[in-house]
Structures are given as C-alpha cells and as structure tokens.
Assembly symmetry: C2
Homo-oligomer: 352 residues x 2
C-alpha cells in the first residue's frame, strides 16, 4: 500500500510524530512530578493507548463508557471516566466494567450521581474510586466551591462500595491560577475533615506546557497532544511539524480562479472552529483558506489564479483532531518503518 | 423497548412524521410536474429510501460512492451520484456499481472527470448517464457559463461509454431566478447544437416550496425535508411538529442556577450552526439555549433558576439533521404502530 493508492478522503497518522509527541510530554510530566493520564478520546485506538502506557502514563482517561469498554477489551487496566454516569443501564455496564478493570475510577459533581454509583456498587467486592469534579471557571460540570466538594467527598466516603479518590477539574484555558486557588482551599477542607485526597487531576491541551504551575495538581489529563492540530499550532503549543494527523483529500473541481473544491467536507473535517477562522490548514499552502464546508465538499480560496490540478491530493491539518478521528471507522497509520497500515477506530461508534 | 429504557444520547425518529413529510412533498412535486429525487445523505437508511420510492420518487440521490453502494445493496435501482468521481479506485467501483444498478448517473463539471469516466466506461455494455454540473451562484462546483456547459455536454456526447443526460445545479438559497436564467440559456445552446437535454436537476431544502418557480427545472433533489431540522424551522419551511428526528439526551449535571449539562455534545449534535446561534432546539423549552458543546457535553442556559432534574431526559431538534444521522451506527425509529425499532445506519462509515 502506498499513499498514492489510498482512496480519499482519508485520515493519515504519522506514527513517528505521534510517538515523539507523547514521549516529549511524558518527559515533561516526569520532570515536574506529574502523573500523566492521557485522554484516549483523541485517537480511540488501543494501539496508541498502549504506546502511551509504555511511555510511562499512569493510566488512561475516557469520556464515556463505550470508550472505556473498548479500551478494556484491549487490555487497558487503569481507566478514569471523567463523567457523571447515570441511569440503570449505564450503571450496570459500569459495574460489569469494574469486574474486569482492576483500577477503574469515575467522577461525580452531584449527589444524584453518587447515589446511583453507591446503589450499583453497594455489594461490590472492590470499592469504586470516585473523584469529585470541581468547576474552576470553565463553567461546564463541577461543584462551585471547595465546601461543596467537601460535602460530596464525605457522601462518597460514607457510601459502602465507593472510595473517595480525590478531586478533578477541567479548567478553562489559562485557568491554572484558578485551579490552584480552588484546589488549595479544597485540600485544606478535606484535610481538616480527615479525608485523604490522593489525586488532584487537571487537564487540557492548550495549557499543557504550564501544567506544573497549579501547585496542588498531581495528575494531568491531555488528549490532543498525541496528534496535535491547527488549534494548538495557532495557540503556540506546537508547530506544523508536530502534527501527526492529517486528512488526505483530492481536488475534485477547480471551477474558478482562486477557488478549488476538495472531497473533504463537514462529514470528514467537522464544523469545529475552536475560535478559528476557516476549517483547517492546507499543508504547504499557508495562503489558502478553507472557507466553507458542505457535507462532502470543502471550498478552498486564495488570492490569485490557477494553483491546484483536478485529481491532485493535498493534506489538511484539521482544526480539532479529536472530533475528526471520531468520523471514521478506519485510519491509516504510517509506521516508523514507513509502511502504511489500516487501523480500526475501536472506540468509535458507541455513542453512549 | 420503551423510550425510558433507551440509553442516551440516542437518535429518535418518528416514522409517522417522516412519512407525512415525504408524502406531502411528493404531492407538491406531482402537482407541479417535478420529478422528485430525494437525497439519502440525510437518513442513510434503505428503509426510508424505499418509502420515498414507494411514495413516487423517480430515484434517489447520493453524494458519494459508499452511499450508493449501500443503497444498491438494499435494491435501490435508480441512483444519481451528484459528484465528480475521480481516480482509478473510485472509477472501478463506479463501473462495478453500474453493473448492478440499472439506472445510474453521475455529474461532472470538468474535462478531467469526463475523461476518467470515459476511460472507465469505454467498453461498458450500457452507457453511463452524465449530467453537467452548473454553478448558479452557490460557488461550489459547477461550470460558470452556459457555454462551458455546452462544451462539456459535447465532450460527454462524443465519448463512447457515456451518455449526456442533462444539467444539474445546487443553487444558493433564494437562487431560483439565477437557476432559471442559467438553464434557459444553456437549454437554448444545447438545442442549437442538437443535444437533447432530458433532465434539468435542481435542489435544496430551504427553497423546497419554491421549487416550481425555476422554469426549466424537471427534477428536484432534496434531503432534509424527510426529517426537517431547526434550520428549516427557523427559515419558515416547516414547524417543530414537522421535525421527525430528535436527539434524546440526559441532564447529567445542574451545576448552577440557569445552567444544565447534557450528555449530547459535538460528537452527537455536531458543531454545524448553519448560520444560527446555539446548537439546537430543546423541545418544550423555547427559552433554553444550547450555548456550547464539548465533545460529550452540551451546556444549556436560560434566565432563571432551577429547571431540570439530574437524570431527566429531554429531546433536542438539531440544527442540521443530515450530519447528525452520520454520527451514529444506529437510530431508533418509532414506527407507525408506536413500537420502537433499532435500525443500522447502512450508509454511515464509508467515507469515500
């Protein structure tokens, strides 16, 4: 198989670049005394989850049960699901998952979730580890104050079948000061109440090189860093050479000077903008913009005349890799030996 | 199976509403002497493609080979692929598809595409029907002038293995006047050159109720109308009661007054805005906005205090249904008997 014979659109991953990225960030975490717990939502591939573990990660992060189940199927044995798991069906799945994942943990930010977890694990042989999710400014999930974190930690601690593991937050970009403040306050309250807080877990790729600046954090969760993407390049976290994933696409029409149409649209690149203008970066053509996406068409524009040939393939670094991996059943990985191999995206498809 | 036991997020389709939508638009086309060729990219389900055919459609439209292959597998026998098919692998697939689809047609807007088609079908028993794609203002694909359309029509007509079928356009919203002008001019040129133009195919859901106003159009392609979505409600093409597809989602956190978090994020609802503000419409809660999406979280906001219970399920009409169907391997269809049945989304996953 060679790149010329791959049908487009297709996702290409350069394994050497991916490995370099994950090794580099593992070294950063090692240097700063942080446990690294990579988020597999970015790649959804056991192949790379195992590579991250081999490089020194303490475990992996998943965002939903179906991701965790796919990773457990592949033998991953330390999984944190950073989500409120609710409802009888999901709780039953979580309980079954706990029976085959030696180190499984979840997060919770409310009493209803904790009650459900407690009911599901009341008669479990091993307690389920629970981290309390704290809002440090992203205004998504999370308790609003250290006092509320303490209250839920006590509820967990008093629930047979559950074990309080620590605190977790998904901070806003630039939120390390807020994380520090919240966690310092919460740790003090927990300590006064006699509750051990083994883990303080923070995360987020844009601030990856400032992960050490929030004093109380023991663990960092990060996903995008293995592939990188346009949003991280634009925010200065990496360069185009650090981007391991690109979308291979064919120019299917050159209908006017300064415009070309490619066979990658919103069903491949997705409409995620992440605050940027345009839908991706055309490698080797810095002055070309991807101005609109339809489902199966992308429209490129630039100042000037003829540029691309019909049938020519080009490569695009997407705005946001995590959602692009999720669009396809298979990706092409160029191994460190140069060979192309197709991998099934194991954790795609199960949306629950 | 009942709606209460469906794990969320999930896609729910009300078959009675879908049928009503497609029957109503078929009646409109019948009344106005238009052939209806529904675009199956919206649902990707043979079940609904067959229902559209049974209601009177002349055939179906697909946007890529993998969609057409899935529909051919299910027995659909009149398929137009509105795309420039390029490259040896895809041309070989197209040739194989033609051997089992009695009425297969494609579009082309350039000589390179026509050359490839001509090579692939040079020794075919049955000529491949080709429509020339024309740009009537959407500035995606399409030749710019009636003169260029004539030139390509002649190239097709002179290619053994190909048969000129007519003209095709994907107009901009409100573009019926431009369609009329382009097609009237092109028809005259074709007629002077002695080329029969059997089909003039236009399409687009926002202008569906004005499809008759472009004089030369013989066929209308439309996808979204079977399910409808927030974009069409906001543009006045239908009402919330006409929306057959909704996303069933669970409230997983109520972290602050006026804010709730649901388990449908950009990996379910997608980031498609289609010019709207917010990421969907919460049925029964007109004053609630879906202000942000992360991959597995959606953030609802409203003015006021407590509103939703943790664990409560709500239903969301997405901005754009066509991309939402594409996110999942299965959808739940509530049949006209009230029973829920799970359907595999046959044409999802093959991105080429």
């Amino acid at each position: 198989m060679s790149i010329e014979t791959i049908e487009t659109p297709a996702i290409l991953i350069d394994e050497a670049v991916a490995r370099r990225n994950l090794v580099k960030y593992q070294a950063y975490c090692d240097e700063h005394g942080l446990a690294l717990r990579p988020h597999i939502k970015t790649h959804k591939l056991p192949h790379f989850a195992k590579m991250q573990m081999a490089a020194g990660a303490v475990g992996i992060t998943c965002q939903k049960l179906s991701e965790a189940e796919a990773m457990a199927d592949a033998g991953l044995d330390d999984i944190l699901i950073t989500y409120n798991i609710l409802g009888p069906a999901k709780l039953a799945r979580l309980r079954r998952l706990a029976e085959r994942v030696p180190r499984l943990a979840v997060t919770a930010d409310n009493a209803v979730t904790i009650e459900g977890l407690a009911r599901a694990f009341a008669d479990a042989d091993n307690a389920l580890a629970v981290l309390i999710e704290c809002n440090t400014g992203a205004n998504r999930c999370g308790v609003a104050t250290p006092g509320e974190a303490l209250e839920l930690a006590q509820t967990v601690s008093n629930s047979p079948g559950l074990a309080f593991r620590g605190l977790m937050t998904y901070p806003p970009v630039g939120g390390t000061v807020a994380v520090d403040k919240f966690m310092t306050g919460a740790k003090e309250l927990l300590s006064q109440a006699g509750l051990a807080c083994a883990t303080i877990s923070s995360g987020g790729s844009p601030d990856m090189w400032r992960a050490d600046s929030a004093g109380g954090v023991t663990e960092y969760r990060i996903g995008t860093y293995i592939y990188n993407d346009r949003s991280l390049v634009e925010r200065g976290a990496c360069t185009w050479e650090d981007c391991a994933l690109s979308v291979l696409t064919t120019v299917v029409s050159t209908p006017a000077p300064g415009r070309a149409i490619i066979d990658a649209g919103s069903k491949t690149l997705t409409s995620d903008l992440l605050g940027l203008t345009g839908f991706g970066h055309v490698l080797g053509h810095d002055d070309v913009s991807i101005v609109t996406l339809n489902e199966e068409h992308g429209t490129l524009e630039w100042d000037g005349g003829a540029r691309f040939e019909i049938g020519e393939t080009i490569r695009i670094v997407p705005n946001h890799v995590c959602v692009v991996s999720n669009m396809v059943d298979h990706v092409w990985v160029r191994g460190e030996d140069g060979d192309l191999e197709q991998y099934a995206v194991a954790a795609r498809g199960g949306i629950t």
